[in-house]
Symmetry: C2
Subunit: 156 residues, 2 copies
DNA sequence: TATTGTTATACTCTATAACTATA
DNA sequence: TATAGTTATAGAGTATAACAATA
């Protein structure tokens, strides 16, 4: 396999033999691609993955508390505060005091929040269609099923 | 579906209908599990994902430069410096000047580095066997193939 | 006592600009 | 001028301790 005499900026030909054996490595590389594309997809809406996920969960679960949302997002409560702050400052959600438990807030999306949700979700649907275009429906379902199985092995 | 009268700390029953439609969401959740477990797996060796990956690539590609390693790891050159610093400080690798190009370093693992590599890789093999125990070989191969396909869609 | 939301803080990972020494 | 490695720095994301208000 002869290389051209004038090497194109010292061609690199890295050996990945060890890393390629690991599923986790492939997951990281693939997820990096998805995340980078999703970040670009959400940028026109001024949303990050975290603010997007929070907005989606609040729209789908009106009235949930910050503790519940943090648990659903698998992040610590302190880290959720700034996320909810941002959504509230942009009038996408409201924090309503719960009469039955005055420590907690009931989070609810505003009309503007629901409208942004609709637009952002549509954009993410298009982003997924683009990124997973080469996978037929069966393969995609199998991928989701395998990923869910991995997640269920968490406590093993 | 009646709930018990005495609710166990206000049982949460979050609606994930929107997020569950997205492959990327399942990838993130699964990868979080894998990453958390891998972090614990590498802790006894005083390695993080980045130092582990760098060590593996240096062992498998003796003499490669920091630029090549950064490209292989998909990180910026400045961020690699501290990683290589740490591996060198622990005498796991050496930075040799390249006579032909005195700007570059040729990275090489020491004997101690190759020994730690052997132990860490064995631990990661066990970690993967544990995490992906519920997936048969065919499913695992299909998962890797699907993830590789996603990665190849990067420039679409 | 325990829990909700909060502040402060720290650590990791990531990204960019600008420098040095070589080429 | 361009590249390899470096420094400094700033931004995300994440994790823990400790506090006020409320239960």
């Amino acid at each position: 396999m002869p290389k051209p005499d004038t090497q194109p900026a010292r061609s690199i030909d890295i050996n990945y033999q060890t890393l390629n054996r690991f599923v986790g490595y492939h997951m990281k590389r693939a997820f990096n691609v998805v995340q980078a594309d999703l970040t670009q997809t959400l940028k026109p809406f001024d949303l990050r993955m975290l603010t997007y996920t929070a907005l989606v969960l609040i729209v789908d679960n009106p009235g949930l508390s910050q503790s519940q949302l943090a648990a659903a997002m698998d992040i610590e409560r302190p880290n959720l505060v700034v996320i909810v702050d941002e959504l509230e400052r942009r009038d996408l959600i409201v924090r309503n005091r719960v009469p039955a438990d005055r420590r907690a807030y009931a989070l609810k999306a505003t009309l503007a929040g629901r409208r942004l949700y609709e637009k952002a979700v549509a954009a993410v649907v298009a982003h997924e269609a683009r990124l997973f275009a080469n996978l037929d429906t069966d393969t995609r379902d199998a991928l989701i099923k395998a990923l869910s199985t991995v997640r269920r092995n968490q406590n093993t």
